[in-house]
Amino acid sequence: MRRERREGLVTALMLAPSVVVLGVFVLMPLCVVFAYSFALRDAYGGVVPGFTLDNYRALFEGLYVQVFLNSFRLAALTTLLCLLVGYPVAYFIAFRAGRWGPALLVLMLVPFWINFLIRISAWVVLLGRNGLINAALVGTGLAGQPVGMLGTQGATLAGMVYAFLPLAVFPIYAALQPLDRRLIEAGADLGANPAQAFGRITLPLSLPGVLAAALFVFVPSMGVFAIPVLLGGGKSIILGNLIVQLFLEFRVIPVGAAVSVVMLVLAAIGIALYMRALARIEAWR
């Protein structure tokens, strides 16, 4: 056998396990969801194979559009906050933390070792009427009575930023860390004060990381459901809750599948836009 062909075969064999896993556990369920989104429903909530566009048509009813808008707004706000908080953190770790940088990154990951729901439940305790924050506020006399924080949009956002912040910090750090410090020195040499050097050199050069961070936060934020329910009191319905409810409570699985497919398509569009923006930035180097 020729060497070239043999190398091709080796590559294929090495890829095989991942291809199988991805095919069985990711692609096939996606196909099932896709098929369900065109299926019919029987009186008992079962799925009847068939083809109809009614499930998609249903999405244009007022309720669903509002849910999409709610989700979009929450995801956009979360992304914005994560970028605003995450950039300085990443900047500090990359430029100022010195040898402590890697340790700080690991610390950011520590909470991930604890189950997501438990961490969010901890926030319930923290923000509750008899929670730590209220106890401190009342105890120090800053507030006469407990402040109702749980069940507000602020609580939801706090939980969202808490959950997704590392996803913003890591890509921004990855973009800042290899940045050639001599470029910033050159900027100063040519007359740029620290703010100008940041705006004209550091920020534009870290944009790929910022874009990746936005994507990493925005996409899962669109699908989140536990945080708004636990911290926001489930007052505004968003896509994540909607899908759970459609599947498990109302048992209109085909419509739930249609909502999922639309979300998937939106995420794909987001990723495509990101890739295009990245390609444009990468053309610089």
């Binding site: 001599r182 900027g187 100063a188 930035i281 610089w284």
Partner: protein, 362 residues
């Protein structure tokens, strides 16, 4: 008081943790001068340049640019620009935008900016590359753009940190001539850092030779080569023969030394050494006379008997190593005349002419 001084360092030291990078640097670079900081790597020349640029602040001493004290001023407030060895062009900006960078910061109006960017790019012969990205240019082209960017808003002083270090030999020679020419034409003060002595000799008006964080000697290239004041200077620049000698007597403006069983009076301007003190004589290989030339000048210097040990062919020259017994080996450089050269084993008389001998205090 500061008439004609572009950069003045007074008693400047810089400490990084436990190491002293430069110590007690006193330097006055004249207006419009091509001034070079020369030295081996780690001698403190780049640190000195960074202290002038303001990237680092001195631990002690005072830095003045154009008569103004800038010791504590940050880099962006100093009227100097730097050409970096790594070029440090901004990868996200085009060539023209790179060159326009300092003009934008100085709030130069767009129309004026375009004209000056075009002029600067023409100056470095990069006019046709305005819209390229730095990554699309060769090293030499990037170097030219870096130069245009540093020159575009006419700094008082241009600092160059081994700017030609990354170029290949032929291109480096071309850029040397071009830089020198440009400096004369623009009349901007250049402070140039290099470890390449030939480059320093060829380009500079004056050279500061540095060693171990200190300045060894500041002089014009000819003086530095012909009249080194220390053993380090004599050995660092070019090749040199060093012979052990003893001070026999010291008079006004001269010193009598004994070497190789002969005595010889040499001019001396420093503090008079004591008789009996050990000293070193230095002579350049190309100044040593041999054979017929030596016979004619026997009384005009130090005469040695030597046996030719080794002949090295170096193109335009031959490098001959003679064993001169107790005086040690003496290297002689003669021009290659394309005929049959001297053969190892020949014995003859060498003369180290008085005019070419330098007495170094040791």
């Amino acid at each position: 008081m500061t008439g004609g001084v572009a950069v003045r360092l007074s008693g400047v030291s810089k400490r990084f943790g436990a190491t002293l990078a430069v110590e007690g640097i006193d330097l006055a670079v004249r207006e419009g001068e091509f001034f070079t900081l020369l030295g081996a790597s780690g001698c403190g020349k780049t640190t000195t340049l960074r202290l002038i640029a303001g990237f680092d602040l001195p631990s002690a001493g005072r830095v003045e640019i154009g008569g103004q004290d800038v010791t504590e001023a940050p880099a962006y407030r100093r009227p100097v620009h730097t050409v970096f060895q790594s070029y440090a062009l901004f990868p996200h900006l085009s060539v023209a935008e790179n060159v326009a960078f300092p003009l934008r910061l100085a709030r130069v109006r767009a129309a004026d900016r375009r004209l000056r960017v075009a002029a600067a790019l023409d100056l470095v012969q990069m006019g046709g590359f305005a819209d390229r990205r730095p990554s699309q240019l060769s090293g030499g082209q990037q170097q030219r753009v870096a130069l245009a960017r540093a020159l575009v808003n006419e700094p008082r002083v241009l600092l160059l940190d081994e700017p030609l270090g990354a170029l290949d030999l032929k291109l480096r020679k071309e850029m040397q001539a071009e830089l020198k020419h440009m400096q004369k034409r623009l009349g901007i003060t250049f402070v140039f850092v290099t470890h390449d002595q030939e480059e320093a000799l060829a380009m500079s008006d004056r050279i500061a030779l540095m060693h171990a964080g200190r300045i060894v000697q500041v002089d014009a290239p000819e003086a530095l080569y012909n009249a080194p004041v220390s053993r380090y200077a004599a050995e660092f620049i070019g090749e040199t023969n060093l012979l052990p000698a003893t001070v026999a007597a010291a008079g006004a403006g001269h010193v009598v030394v004994a070497a190789a069983g002969q005595t010889l009076a040499l001019p001396w301007s420093g503090p008079a050494p004591e008789a009996g003190q050990a000293a070193t004589l230095a002579v350049r290989p190309e100044c040593v006379l041999r054979g017929d030339e030596a016979a004619a000048a026997a009384d005009e210097g130090l005469a040695l008997e030597g046996r030719l040990e080794d002949v090295t062919f170096i193109g335009s020259d031959l490098r001959l190593t003679y064993d001169c017994g107790p005086a040690g080996p003496v290297v002689v450089r003669v021009q290659n005349r394309a005929g049959p050269g001297p053969e190892p084993g020949e014995r003859l008389r060498l003369v180290l002419p008085r005019a070419a001998l330098r007495l170094l205090a040791s």
